[in-house]
């Protein structure tokens, strides 16, 4: 299949961003996430030549292959170090990091901590389907207690890890949550995350009809609430009158923790701190401030 080129004169279309038909199961939530990303790229007129999608391994890892931008299908759990390198060298690029719940919280858990701590400029998408699906259903850190998988057939033994509370605890500067079946809301979240300068953590509840059809009930609306505020993200238009709406100021960290701690699921902007310093910016400032020396002078001392 030929890679299509984008004419800069014309408006970007979904067709321009199409590469090939994804190899995901029928009804997979990843289709919704990739489509929301494409729509967001069109709405915010992101140039595909300046956009890089970096991923780890897993069903989520295939996402960059299905968007006609630059992409890197990296190694398991390590999309964050790769994208940190990109963010340091090429601040002109729009970096999107795609990682699954196992990739980000288990295999790449340590990189997630330092990615958030370094607060470099990228949008991090956590595809949370509550199990390992590419390897055909094993227990992941976010598998809910009692759910039977191939590795724990009598039901998962532990309570799931709360990803939003975890990243709030590490000190993320932008924490939002959405779901794959709400394209309008997911688009708004991506828009806010992209505009934030720093590590924008976006938790996405992703359906997995093949291995866990009951992980998220997308037909009913009683089990979740929307967070909204004038500084936050607007409620999904389609579901606005069916879902409970909670007013939450995203600059209030304490309230964000309380919401993350509750047993109810909340979609929206949890926390936003635009003032947290960015590691990539600090390093670049340091380089511009440093006195310029020619290579010849620098290596003169090391001549053998």
């Amino acid at each position: 299949m030929n890679v299509q080129t984008v004419n800069p004169e014309q408006k970007l279309t979904i067709k321009d961003l199409h590469t090939e038909n994804p190899r995901w199961c029928i009804g997979c939530g990843d289709f919704g996430i990739v489509m929301a990303l494409k729509r967001f790229m069109i709405d915010d007129t992101l140039n595909p030549k300046d956009t890089v999608n970096v991923s780890g391994i897993g069903c989520s890892g295939r996402a960059p292959n299905y968007v006609n931008t630059y992409g890197l299908h990296g190694i398991h759990g390590r999309p964050i170090p790769i994208s940190l390198g990109l963010a340091l060298v090429r601040p002109d690029l729009n970096v999107f990091v795609h990682s699954g719940d196992g990739d980000a919280l288990s295999i790449g858990g340590n990189h997630l901590i330092h990615g958030i701590n370094k607060n470099f400029n990228c949008v991090f998408l956590l595809y949370d389907n509550e199990l390992y699906a590419l390897t055909k259903s094993q227990t992941s850190p976010t598998t809910r207690k009692g759910h039977a998988t191939n590795t724990q057939p009598s039901g998962s033994y532990l309570d799931p890890l709360n990803a939003v509370r975890l990243v709030l605890g590490i000190g993320a500067s932008f924490v939002a949550s959405s779901a794959d079946w709400m394209p309008d809301h997911l688009g708004q979240v991506l828009d806010a995350a992209f505009k934030h300068k720093g590590f924008s953590f976006v938790h996405i509840s992703q359906r997995c009809p093949h291995f866990d059809p009951n992980n998220f009930d997308h037909k009913s609306t009683s089990w979740f609430s929307f967070l909204t505020h004038e500084k936050g993200i607007p409620v999904d238009k389609r579901l606005a009158d069916k879902v409970e709406v909670v007013q939450h100021d995203p600059s209030n960290a304490e309230a964000a923790f309380k919401i993350a701690n509750s047993s109810r699921v909340h979609f929206g902007l949890y926390y936003h701190d635009p003032k947290k310093p960015c590691y990539d910016q600090i390093l670049r400032d340091l380089i511009t401030k440093t006195e310029q020396k020619s290579r010849k002078d620098m290596f003169a001392k090391f001549r053998i």
Binding site: V3, K49, N65, Y70, R295, F299
Partner: protein, 206 residues
């Protein structure tokens, strides 16, 4: 005087001086070497959008699951290694290119082997040495070199015994089908001394 940084910032490969090739005993590679993907553009290049992936791809860079495409990718990648193999020349030799024993080493054992061969030659033992700077891939003329010696042995700082063949010995045997044996294969972590190599060669020829 070698200006090290200059070598690190060479833009044109033709500017690499000949002594660098001589040191590694390799000829220049051909100008054109085929890659799996035609496009190697970097982010920011208009129209060159591509995905770097561990999945198999065709020339255009699209993921491709067809059998023929997978076979082609393997052929292209292996051909790149074969280019290096064809360019490799005879490794560094100590002593004449024929005799009773050829001792082969790689890595840190070079100095000890060279000294041992000099000492052996002084005592009239027809021993020669060969030191490998590149262990993989190996050059193509090893069988001809080995044929001129009665015995071929390896000197390596790696474990081996009668049931567990030492790694370099195993590699050379599988490449050449010559009966290569281990002269020294130990994992003590201590340097191999020239005296020990000489004694072992004498023992071998006794």
């Amino acid at each position: 005087m070698i200006d090290k940084p200059q070598i690190n910032e060479i833009d044109d490969i033709n500017a690499i001086p000949d002594f660098v090739f001589e040191r590694f005993r390799i000829k220049r590679l051909p100008d054109h070497i085929e890659m799996v993907r035609n496009s190697q553009s970097i982010p920011g290049t208009e129209g060159g959008m591509r995905r770097v992936t561990g999945l198999n791809t065709d020339q255009t860079g699209s993921v491709n699951y067809f059998a023929g495409s997978n076979q082609r990718s393997h052929e292209v990648r292996n051909e790149k290694v074969h280019h290096v193999r064809r360019a490799l020349t005879v490794p560094e030799m100590f002593g004449p290119s024929e005799g009773d024993v050829l001792a082969i080493s790689w890595g840190s054992t070079r100095g000890a082997l060279e000294e041992a061969i000099i000492n052996c030659r002084k005592e009239g033992i027809k021993a020669s040495g060969m030191h490998l700077r590149i262990v993989y891939p190996l050059p193509l003329m090893f069988k001809e070199i080995f044929a001129k010696f009665k015995k071929v042995v390896t000197v390596e700082l790696a474990y081996g015994d009668s049931l567990k063949p030492a790694p370099l010995m195993m590699l050379l045997r599988s490449e050449t089908l010559v009966d290569v044996r281990s002269l020294i294969c130990r994992a003590t972590g201590r340097p191999i001394r020239p005296k020990i190599i000489k004694e072992k060669i004498q023992e071998l020829l006794r």
